[in-house]
Symmetry: C2
Subunit: 234 residues, 2 copies
């Protein structure tokens, strides 16, 4: 018997209508739909696709631990891979959905790599999705990049000089998950006189999306986890 | 009478199934569909959406000149904006389609900005699309970025040290439109021993997509215009 295929489907940043036709077709045709388990509430990817699922489909929440301990992480990924392989080895296809794009800071990477490590026969296919920087630019009504502009995307700040280097190199800088470092970032942008060319988009493409344009008067912002900052440097 | 809305729709990198549900809904409901005119052949965006259009829809090819002369460019954009405004002022919505994402190195930016400059009443809405770096990573079956990786996207190389700086700064580097500078890039990647961690994807998500993995034995490649290179630096 042939094993099933694991489809990794990027379902976009929040608006269920931002899934691709291909993602939706595969999502509807598989018997099993997996997603990262929400912590205490419905996970974001699960919520985005909820309206597209039928009661006949198995829903498979997977725990990705979200801790820093590498051993605990590896254990969580192995258990997730086992759960998925359980269906694949029976010949059933599984769709793993995640918010945004599937290759861009996605939990899918850990699942796919662990699955292929323990079960080398596993077949994996990735379906790209709309990532949040593109969705944010569209929401702002500004281009993300034009012509010869260089783009730097920084997942978060771990060294104070990291943003400085990015601002030196790039024409446009995107800071993902900016909430925990916003105040520090603001200081750097103020010193470089870039606050007027900076935007924050919180929960892009969700019903409660918030846009902050021109950050000059906003040295402090209480932002949710899904917030990004775009700086037009040059 | 209310003026129409200009929708900018990113239709993805090539596979017509990679348009979003939202993009397709708007594309089907507008009376006028505009796109960049192909040079001597059908334009790429026009080809991607061809199967979704009905004979009742006006098809409006727009000439974006694609020259370096700024005056000629500005003239072309103004004529394109006039053509679009002709329908908008009659209350008809226009969808402008372009390949990839609408905010990411897109001709839509010039159309939208020129339109709003000459016709400040014009209403513009952008619908994001799948950009080629994400589609390429999905096609390769590798993550584009994970964890704390910094991503640098370079549209093309105009100074020899530009790639060097990107490789120093980023964990992952994407070179868009790499065809004209491939040989030079190869030399730099060889010196840095990065050829085994580099991929070229040509015409991603099109039926004639070609993937080159491990560039060690490929100092020269004849590539088409829509080719990009991904380097996993660290």
């Amino acid at each position: 018997m042939q094993t099933g295929i694991l489809y990794g489907i990027g379902v976009g940043p929040g608006d269920p209508e931002l899934i691709t036709l291909k993602g939706l077709r595969l999502l509807k045709q598989v018997p099993v739909v997996a997603f990262p388990e929400g912590r205490g509430k419905t996970g974001m990817a699960q919520e985005i696709v909820a309206q597209w699922l039928s009661p006949h489909q198995v829903q498979l929440p997977l725990d990705f631990a979200f801790v820093r301990d590498e051993t605990l992480l590896a254990q969580a990924w192995e258990i997730a891979a086992q759960k998925v392989w359980h269906y694949l080895q029976q010949g059933q296809d599984v769709a793993f959905v995640c918010e945004g794009d599937i290759s861009f800071y996605s939990t899918f990477t850990y699942l796919a790599q662990t699955l292929q490590q323990f079960y080398p026969d596993a077949i994996v296919q990735a379906i790209p999705g709309i990532c949040s920087p593109m969705a944010a630019a569209a929401a702002l009504g500004v281009p993300l990049t034009v012509r010869h502009q260089r783009l730097a995307i920084v997942p978060a700040l771990y060294a104070p000089d990291e943003l400085e280097t990015a601002l030196d190199w790039a024409d446009v800088v995107v800071l993902m998950k900016v909430s925990s470092v916003y105040d520090r970032v603001w200081q750097i942008l103020q010193r470089r006189q870039l606050l007027k060319q900076s935007w924050v988009v919180e929960r892009v493409a969700l019903p409660n999306q918030v846009i902050y344009s021109d950050l000059s008067d906003r040295p402090h912002l209480q932002l949710s986890y899904f917030s990004l900052l775009i700086v037009q440097v040059k």
